[in-house]
């Protein structure tokens, strides 16, 4: 980050860390909600069935792969945008 002093950079880093924790907790919550809604449908028992447990596990793995792939596309897009500059206004 150009234009920031050392102490400003330290402040920024601390805030970024807090932001990352918040971000991570948000993603975690979304993943729990999504995999729960997608995989759990049987309320004849209070324990997860083998099928449900497997589904949750695949759901988490698939979403990590998916998120990884979309992150790459997103970074490519941002790199391209910053080369071109913003679109004409």
């Amino acid at each position: 980050m150009e234009g920031l002093s050392a102490s400003e950079n330290r402040e920024l880093e601390q805030r970024m860390q807090k932001r990352q924790i918040k971000e991570f907790l948000g993603l975690f919550s979304n993943l729990v909600d999504h995999c729960f809604m997608s995989c759990v449908d049987d309320f004849t028992s209070k324990s997860l069935s083998t099928r449900e447990t497997g589904c949750v596990s695949r759901c988490v793995q698939k979403h990590m792969a998916l998120s990884q792939r979309l992150s790459e596309r997103f970074q490519e897009h941002n790199a391209q945008m910053s080369q071109q500059g913003p679109p004409p206004r």
Partner: protein, 95 residues
Amino acid sequence: MSFMGFGRPQPSSAEKIAAVEAEMKLLTEMHNRLTKACAKKCVPNDYREADLNKGESVCLDRCAAKFFDVHMKVSEHLQQESQQRGSGGGFGFGG
């Protein structure tokens, strides 16, 4: 630390309060998500009765237990994954 001129000094009392607040917030949010998820799973949207019937009540109890289990399972998976990859980066959400 403020005498060394670093950033804004964060008094320890503000930090303690922030920590308690953050924990309360996490618990409240989890409660809200639980309620939203189990209302969707167990209670039909037509609202013919004002009271929870027996079937809905039992469904809610089991739904809560399963929600906590999924919470735990997802948490375990992410921990395994972050140990394998080194850092926790590159994980994301999906709808």
